[in-house]
Each structure stands twice: as C-alpha cells, then as structure tokens.
Symmetry: C2
Subunit: 495 residues, 2 copies
Amino acid sequence: MLAAPPPASSYGRRPLGERMIADLKAKLQRAFNPRSVAVVGDKKQSDYMWLNSLAHFQGKVYSVQIDPKEIPGIEALGVPNYKSLLDIPGPIDYALVSVPRPVAPRVLQDCIAKGVGAAAFFTSGFAETKTEDGLLLQASLTKMAQAADFALIGPNCMGPYVPGIGLRNNTDEAWGVSGPVAFISQSGGNLVNFSQAAAASGIHISKAVSYGNAIVLDSTDFLEYIVDDPDTQLIGAYIEGVKDGRRFFRLLRENAGKKPVIIWKGGQTPDGARATSSHTASLAESMAVWEALMKQCGVLRANDVDEMVDTVKALVMVKPGVGDRVGMVSMAGGSSVTITDTFGRAGLRVPELSADSYRKLGSFFNIIGGSYRNPLDAGQTFRSADLLVQMLETLRDDPQIDSVVLEMAARRGDRDPKLMEGLLPALQRFKEGTTKPFLMVVSPPQRVEHYERYAQLRDELTARGIAVYSTSQRAAATLRRVVDYYRFRQELQAG
Amino acid sequence: MLAAPPPASSYGRRPLGERMIADLKAKLQRAFNPRSVAVVGDKKQSDYMWLNSLAHFQGKVYSVQIDPKEIPGIEALGVPNYKSLLDIPGPIDYALVSVPRPVAPRVLQDCIAKGVGAAAFFTSGFAETKTEDGLLLQASLTKMAQAADFALIGPNCMGPYVPGIGLRNNTDEAWGVSGPVAFISQSGGNLVNFSQAAAASGIHISKAVSYGNAIVLDSTDFLEYIVDDPDTQLIGAYIEGVKDGRRFFRLLRENAGKKPVIIWKGGQTPDGARATSSHTASLAESMAVWEALMKQCGVLRANDVDEMVDTVKALVMVKPGVGDRVGMVSMAGGSSVTITDTFGRAGLRVPELSADSYRKLGSFFNIIGGSYRNPLDAGQTFRSADLLVQMLETLRDDPQIDSVVLEMAARRGDRDPKLMEGLLPALQRFKEGTTKPFLMVVSPPQRVEHYERYAQLRDELTARGIAVYSTSQRAAATLRRVVDYYRFRQELQAG
C-alpha cells in the first residue's frame, strides 16, 4: 500500500501529475512482473481457461471461487482456492477477474482492500453494450477505482501477457520465450492473433497487455511504462481510442527516434469507428489527425495483424536502410515483371544496375532464357547456390542499389533438395554479411501437399534470421514503411 | 492450305482486313482444337516436357527430332518420331517448336510447307536479349511468317493450353476438365500460375494461350478469336504490350457488357516496363492511357495472379450486385473492427441495419460479449449452424444491405467438427437461395499443423460453390471491383 498523500489527479481522470505517474508505473511493474497471481471466478464451463493459461507461471497462483460446485475441479488442477481475495495469505501482485458483471464491483472492492497491485477484468457487458445496466455498472467500477487510485485494467479485456514468466491470457500463447517486442492492445483477440503470428515468424514478446474498455488505465499509461522497459526494443499497439491524446502524443514525441512504435488504429473509417464503439465503447477520432500526429512522431502504421507482424519482422531482422532502390533476383520472367510493378506501386525503384555489375554478371550469367537486367531473372540459371549468392553479392556491392530482395518458389526445393541444403547457410552468411536490407519473398504453393515443404523452407529461413514475406506486395509495403522510418530517424538526428 | 488470294495486309503488319481476320480465326480454330500435334525438338535433358505434357492429349501426337541420341527415348514414350515435319503422314493442326534458335527459321519453313495450322515457338533468345543475333533472327522469322501469312505464336512462349482435350504446355497443368474462363497470357509462367491457382479455387479454363514476343500473333488476335468462343464466358489476360492498340480497344468496346474481361497489365511502372522489354521485348505504354481505356470499356483490372483469380472467382461464383453496403458476420470483436476498416478503405460501407433486423436479431442473439450491430459479432454465440444462418438471412433480407460477408476462423472446425458438418450444407443452401452477393473470408492458420484442416474447409466451401477469400483485404478489393463492373454494365444497359 502507498504511504504517499493522495495526488491531485487519479488514473481515471486526466491529466496525471508526475507523482501519479511514478505511482502508476510502480503498480504496473508489479502487474507485469508478478510473484503472485489470483484468478477470481474461473470455472469448468470455460475449461478453466485462466488457470490453464497460468499452468507454466513461475510464481504463486491462487483461485478465488465461492461456488461449491466449481471448487473441486479447481483444486484438482492443484490450485489452492479461497472464498475471498482477502483470505489469501500474503500479497497479490496481479488479479484476473472473470465473474458475472453484477459481482464485479464487490470483487473490485476486495482487490482494493487486499492491496492488489493491479487487476484485469475479463468480465464484459458494460458501456460497449449501450444498455443502461452496462453503463451504470461501468460508472460505478470507474468511480470506485478512481477513488482508491486502483490500477484497474479493462473491463472487457484479457490483461497482461508476459511469456517469459508464463503469465498468459490464453492457452494458445507461447511461454518460456522472450523477445524484444511489446504489444499494447485494446482487443484481446488481436493480442492473441499478434502473439501467435509473431511467434510463427520467430518474433517473441517482452510484455503485452489487452486493456478493453480502458475505464481507468489506457494505452497512454501502458505506453508510459513500456517506453522505459529495458526488455523492450520496439512497441506495437492496437488502439481503438485514446482518452488523453495530449499525453499520448507527448510520449510518442519524446520517444521519437528511440524505440520504434507501430500503431494499428482500429476504427479508421466511420463504420469502423461505429464497430469500436460496440467493441470497447471507444469514441470516434479523426483519422486525419491521427495520421498527422503519427507522421510527426515517426510512428509506423499498420492496418491489420499481418502488416503489424510484417513490419515488426523487418525492424527486428532486416538491416536499416534509407534508400528506395531495390536490386532483385527473381525465378521467372513473368513474375519478375509483376514483382517490379508491385515494388513500383509501393513507391520503390527497381533501377538499372551499374555498368560494373553488368560486367560481373556477364562473366557467369547465361543470357539465353534469362536476363541480367534488374530484376535478375534466375529462372534458367538457378542451378547452384554459389551462382545465386554471386548474383546477390553483385547487387549488394552495386552503389546504385540500396536493398536486396530475393524471390524464390518453394517448389524449387522439391526438385533439388541438395541444392537447398547448400543454399540455406549461404543465404544466412549473405544476410549476416550485408549492411543493406535483405528481404525474401517465398509464396505459398497452390497445392496442399506442397504446403509443408513451403512452411519448412519459410521456417528454416526464418530460423536463420532472414525476413521472409509470403507475397511481393507485403514485402514491398513493408520495405517502404521501414525505409520511411529510418529516413525519419536520420533526418531527426541530422537535426 | 488457303486458296484465297493473298490479302493486302498480313498478321504481322497492321491493320488487318476482314478477310485476314476470318482467315486468322480459322487457323486459331485449328490450333485450339487440334486433331494432330507435332512437337519439334523435345529432348531428354528437359525430361521430354512437351511430349509428357501431351500424355493425355486426345488426338494424334508426333515428334520431330533429328538427333539420333534423342530418338530412342522419344520412341520409348510411344510417340512416333520423324526426321522432318514434312515426313509426317496427314495434316498437322498445331506444332510446338522447341529447337535451338539458329534452327528456328528452318523449322518455320517446314511448318509453312507442311501447311501446319499454327505453330508456337518455345525457343527463346530473340529480341528480348537485345543482342544483334537475337534481333536479326527475330526479324527473319517475322518476315518469313508474314510473307506466308503463317499463324506463328511466340517465339519465347508456351502456346495454347486447352485442358478439356489434354493440350497442355506444362505437366503441372490440369487436364480432362473444362470451365468458362479463357486466359490470354504474354507470359508462360503467368499462364501456368494462373491455371494452377484457378484450379485450386475450383475454376477451370476453356482455352488459354501464352504468346511471348508476339512477333506475328498478338493479344488482339487471340482476343478476336476468344470473344466469339462459345465455351468461354469470361476472359482474363496478362499483357505486357499491345501492337495494334486501336483494334484491341475496338474489340473491347464492342464486347463491353458482354463477356467480362479482366486485364493484368505487366509493365505498369517505368521499371516494370523495362522488365517487360527484357522479358518479351515489349515496348513501354502509358499506364494512364491503359487505365482510361479499360475504364471506358468496363474492363476489370488485376495487378497480380492472386487478384486475377480472386476476381474470376467472384464473377463465376458470386451473384451480381451493384450496391456498396455490406452486412457482415464476424467471429471476434477485434477482427470485426479491422474487417470493417478494411472494407471501408476499399470504398465499401458496413452500415447500421434496419430497425426490423435488430428486432429479429434481438430475439435470438445474446448481447453480452457479442454485439448485434453490423458487423454481427458471432464470437460468443456461434454454437449452432441454425443461429449463424439466421444471422446471415437477417442480413440478406435487410433492405439496407447489398452484399453479405461471413468471416470465419478455420480453427472453429477443430473444436466442433459436428457443428461444421451441419454448417457446410446450410451455407450452400444460403448461397444458392440468396440473390445478393455472398462472400466468405477464411484465413489460413498460424500453425502448420492446422493448415490441412484449413485447406479442407476452404476446399469444401469452394466445392459447394462458395467464393472463399484468404484475407478480408482480398475479399473487399474483389467485391469493390465486381460491384463497379456490374454497375458499369447496368449503366450501359440503361443507355
């Protein structure tokens, strides 16, 4: 419990004073690094989803459940159950509350009395329902938390996810791994989707949180904590509405050029904004204002989970670069035209190479049926890993070229597994040796029976630290986004 | 052989007179419906790719090969070999020529002398190489074919593909099936990619052709033939350059409002145009002019093979509609916001429903944790096929709604296979019964082990005639495109 005198503002009211912010960060420090967690109201009907999610949690887990029919099932999981939060011996750093909505205020009261660090309310049915009951209950929770300066997360949310310590909000999420990426998400579903898609791309999470209706703690509060988190190198966010826009953008401006921030704004269109109001009761905000402010702060933009993962992947795995000129190797003439058009529509160039490069290529490239312009059409000549790497190196060494992209069909691997075996380490060496951005495009096959081989190739390349994209469109859009970001940072540094 | 006097123009020179066009169409009729095919120059090194592609051809197949080392392998395939085209008994409707480029003129001479209906030259190394040799050889082939009014396809191409009669240009292509879609492609790779992707979506091909450098026959000539083909209901095309733009667009204007045409233009950007010049020696054309003309003729636009297949699928499988207002059912709150934004960015609306619809929904929809706005959030309530179909029917019957979209996660099927079993026929009945467009979004899973189940669900829905898209972005872009097309047609009919 805090001994400090009550501050002039409270979490739910804005703006927050400095002392309030320090207090808040201390509480979030407990919630994101808990030694003890209580789950209030888990039950058999939902397969004990919360307690099962915490199966690998590295601290103490307690259950609070008063229904005598539920208690044996909970105890069978090996989790001690109490009738009230107040009965639990020792402090509780974080509580997850999943009770029927009329009970929510009483549980909040207990959280406050117990001195819980922070509590996330999974319980929904509040302002997002637009019903009188829902609105009144939400107002009562808000008032109670504000009066006590209680760090309430949600309601209608899934709370923190810290894979490194096994603090999860879904049994599908990874645990026991940790990475450089924080994810702040107003939607629980989007948090789960992002964490799964990121893990599939070899990207792991430092800390994440789903915060729903944000009646007390909002994106701004989590951002305040996460910009200083030493485990976090870059920050993704899914946001439907921001309550203290001034402080939110001040934080982003202060952070500009430090940790990259990617924002996926929910409710960009009038209809989308109406959907957010049914989802987390967020109010509509002008997308034009958001766009202007994001640009000013060098914030990267994503529009869905794929774009978010694509961008994070490039920031983590691809060397920084500020130039538009792409050198490409493609496997088929027709697709080399399309890939060039795709990069062109994304605002990138696929220019002619220097005379020196053409000279080098001419010494080992068979022109008939292929081509040694840019993109280099390797369709006919892809018979050795060495040759392919020589082509990539020629692009890398060309002063007319800023980034290198290799487009490859997964099916090649079926035809010549031995070639692939040599190629993978060669590509990894190339990637590690180059100071220019290097991306690959490997598209999924049409036939289901080829999918596993494709996924294996993609995962092997990923495991070797190479950023693989499933379409040239996604690769181009991502490269455009990160080049713009690094250019922003360069201009910022140049003053 | 033609008895008519030589026309004033020839295929390679423009414009073509009416008699020339009739003559040309007669020759293409032979090439697309051949009773006899000769393959000139197939060999072991390429696994007899041409003869193997013709393994299921329903007419006569002959080989022409003079290399004594190659002949036994060819005869082992059961194909009779001759030293010259002229030695083959009986007429040859179509010849595929795959010989070293210096030999090409001599083989063309034989084709002319033999009275072959049309010949496709797979042989490459001509103007696309920008070498003197290549340019000279191309000029000589062109002159020879023009002088004889010979229907030369290519060079640097794969020729016709007619799956129904087993006339293929690749062993990966389907055979023994036939559908309503023609595909005219300057690139052989794009033809193969399209035919495979389309087949995976349950879309089959009537007739297709890859025509490469187009030194004699061009897209216009194939279009002229295919607009009148009774087996073809819609036409896709991949085009890098058009030699007789006036006639090409006149054909498209005459066809406007009849068979839908989708054009994927290669070389849209300056760099892309440079790539086409290395690929099929096509000259750059202004994309602005193309866009204006396509719009004038109601031509749909695609930018890659995915967009081409997506659009064809909607034209074949989705009922026509001219309105922007989409009614949606989605499985998770977070994704319902994103899907709404995605459709909004594509220029579509996801509006509020009529009061009557909300009344109907209120009678069976549990609002807590879900939502009965639009999109309908079925995440919590998706427990029966009936309920889901009732939601879809409510949208269908709503006068505020023009199209219905269902977004579904493949993983649901894992959780409750019995539910899916009932759902599939229910969705098919819904699709068949509605007069409004109905599309589904089913996204691939993150984990490889779930992929097969996803592909199965997608394929089962496809087999039931439902258009399934792998992302909401692709569904939205496609719906936008076809709504614009049907609106064009409506306005044309209204005069």
